[in-house]
């Protein structure tokens, strides 16, 4: 009975005419995409864009089975996956983020981590906070004689993918022993579910270090280490340094690229785009136009919501390429 009563009030009249677009995929950009959905609905009430975070893997699967109008993924799509979509695929980089080393060491601020130390911590070879690999580059900090507790993502995630991809690029040993993927098996540490799980692990236990998305570290007041980039400089994780990394990226034709080990002097080393997955052909013209309108708005006006939520706005050069790709959709 409840159900029947509820169905009656289920469909407020004003929303009956709206064009519905549904998407699903990556968890990391979900807050921004959902914000876009709400904000765009204010600008253009005739379109409702509904995005749900189910994870990049499920996002790609849903996109391939065609149960959504668009997908989203931190790892884009592989050529093999793209080949299976008969309607064709257009990859659009929509926003970007950076991954930070968040740590909890009472009284220690401004920690610097060398490339050697980063890999060593996750390989389990750097066991104490006063290990020479860390101490060497932090002469001003009195590091405690404490075990390094390592926190990692227990769930599969684009964050782990980008993070391990970087470590594998800078350390041969890491590449050999652990490799990179959306979920890998670290020889040390404890797994937290989601960014929030790792954040909680770091926050609750002194001596813990973990990798999380920038927004989580900022909003939870975690200390973030400056990381050594390819040029040898220690770069702090702020959106400006992240934007520098992205601006230097050279795009291939399919727009699928990772700045695995960026070379610029002020580039923050671990940053990545995240992609919207669109079909090349849409049968429903009204839906196609609404979707194209939304994505175009997101690439331009929508970018201004990125910084406050902890994302890196796309550099103008990238927006141009993305818009060109968007125009190819029929």
């Amino acid at each position: 009975m409840l159900a029947i009563a509820a169905v009656a009030m289920f469909s407020p009249v004003e929303s009956l005419l709206a064009q519905q677009i549904s998407g699903a995929g990556a968890t990391f950009p979900a807050p921004l995409y959902q914000r876009w959905g709400v904000e765009y609905n204010k600008v253009n009430p005739a379109v409702q864009v509904n995005y749900q975070s189910v994870g990049s893997g499920a996002g790609v699967k849903n996109f391939m089975t065609g149960v959504v109008d668009f997908g989203a993924s931190d790892a884009a799509m592989t050529d093999e996956e793209i080949g299976k979509v008969a309607r064709g695929v257009v990859l659009i980089p929509a926003t970007a983020g950076e991954i930070v080393f968040a740590y909890n060491l009472p009284g220690v601020k401004g920690l610097k981590l060398s490339r050697e130390a980063m890999a060593g911590i996750y390989l389990g070879t750097v066991k104490k906070w006063n290990d020479p690999a860390i101490a060497k580059h932090n002469p001003d900090i009195k590091l405690p004689d404490m075990p390094v507790k390592v926190a990692y993502r227990s769930d599969g995630s684009g964050t782990t993918f980008v993070f391990t991809q970087h470590l594998a690029a800078i350390s041969k040993q890491f590449d050999d022993e652990i490799g990179f993927d959306k979920s890998v098996t670290f020889p040390v540490g404890v797994g937290g579910k989601g960014n929030e799980g790792v954040t909680a692990l770091v926050k609750q236990s002194p001596g813990t270090v973990g990798y999380v998305e920038y927004g989580y570290a900022v909003n939870n007041g975690l200390e973030m280490a400056s990381l050594q980039n390819k040029a040898g400089n220690f770069v702090s994780p702020d959106l400006e340094n992240g934007a520098a990394t992205l601006a230097n990226v050279q795009f291939p034709e399919n727009l699928r690229v990772w700045p695995v080990d960026p070379e610029g002097a002020t580039d923050y080393p671990i940053a990545s785009f995240t992609w919207l997955l669109l079909y090349k052909k849409y049968d429903d013209a009204a839906k196609r136009d609404a979707l194209k309108g939304f994505v175009n708005w997101a690439l331009t006006d929508g970018q201004k919501f990125a910084p406050e939520l902890g994302y890196i706005p796309l550099p103008a050069k990238v927006v141009e390429k993305a818009q060109a790709a968007l125009a190819t959709i029929q």
């Binding site: 189910v54 994870g55 499920a58 769930d155 609750q204 236990s205």
Partner: protein
């Protein structure tokens, strides 16, 4: 004029048969649903089953990027976390069930207790997880540090203590299965015919002699059913466990070390899995179902034994 009367009469006569058939269909439907689910799971698991075979059960490595999959640590974690949870929950659940069906304290107090226990069933799994993070983890860490310092040489108390550990997950699980355990046990106790109790009193038994000697044995099948139901729930519980157990695939004896469960593994990796990893996760799900089957068979056996013993009473 007679025809409508006759037809209603016929419907009336047929109704019992119709009802019986309906009940049969419902029963058959339930069996079919499980069959269907298992076929779905087995189908998606098949590539992993044919590739890894039974080694999947004994292999400890879960390395998605190298396509090496084994669930031994997760099987151990599933069994030990629900067993430890039951260790805590069973005495508590039974105590509450007895407490609720006896008159130790006035009715309003008992009603409040029952009300609170029932509220527990309504709390979403995620909230249990959050509560565990904020409340249980600090407590477990304190207890763990104290214990590992003194009894660290005993394998199950080995340090270092992690907040996200087997014990944390088990404690929260114990609480989560309490409403199921309590509600069904209480119904079973309440269903014991009053005459039995009166008989025991008449023979000079004290209240607890009556409870332990007559009422509990009579209610045993119901209590066992409650335990199995609760155990099934504990083993299948996903979100809260995934948030608290630390999700490690490194086997450890210590209750203060991170562990992992099959359901937690699914919750963690299903969303981002692809290819053989999906198949392996489905294989893991299949194993979980088989373990529940095992528990139920044991439960069934216990039930039969207790029934035989109390046959005369019912």
């Amino acid at each position: 004029m007679a025809s409508p009367n006759e037809s209603t009469l016929q419907v009336g006569r047929r109704l019992p048969d119709l009802f019986r058939i309906l009940c049969w269909i419902a029963g058959a439907g339930v069996v079919l649903v499980l069959g269907w689910i298992i076929v779905e799971i087995a189908q998606s698991a098949w590539p992993a089953i044919s590739k890894f075979g039974l080694e999947f059960l004994s292999n400890s490595a879960w390395v998605p990027n190298r396509e090496r999959f084994g669930v031994f640590p997760f099987i151990i974690g599933t069994i030990s976390s629900s067993a430890i949870a039951m260790l805590f929950a069973f005495p508590l659940g039974l105590a509450i069930a007895i407490f609720l069906s006896e008159d130790f304290l006035p009715l309003p107090v008992r009603q409040t207790v029952r009300f609170v226990v029932e509220m527990l069933a309504a709390i979403p799994s995620v909230v249990y997880g959050l509560w565990g993070i904020f409340v249980v983890i600090p407590i477990v860490k304190t207890i763990g540090d104290w214990t590992t310092e003194r009894f660290g040489t005993v394998p199950i108390f080995e340090g270092p203590t992690y907040g996200n550990s087997l014990l944390t997950a088990s404690l929260v699980l114990a609480l989560m299965i309490l409403p199921t355990l309590t509600a069904i046990s209480r119904n079973a106790l309440a269903a014991v015919p009053p005459a039995l109790r009166e008989g025991a009193y008449a023979l000079g038994a004290t209240r607890w002699e009556a409870i332990l000697g007559v009422i509990l044995p009579t209610a045993a099948p119901g209590v066992v059913a409650a335990t199995i139901l609760a155990l099934g729930r504990a083993m299948g519980e996903t979100m809260a466990v995934a948030m608290l157990i630390g999700n490690s695939s490194r086997p450890s004896w210590s209750i203060f070390a991170p562990s992992g469960t099959l359901a937690g593994l699914l919750a963690n990796q299903f969303g981002e899995a692809s290819g053989l990893q999906v198949n392996s996760l489905m294989y893991a799900a299949l194993i979980l179902v088989v373990i529940t089957l095992g528990v139920n068979l044991v439960g069934e056996w216990v039930l039969r034994v207790t029934r035989r013993r109390t046959e005369g009473i019912r």
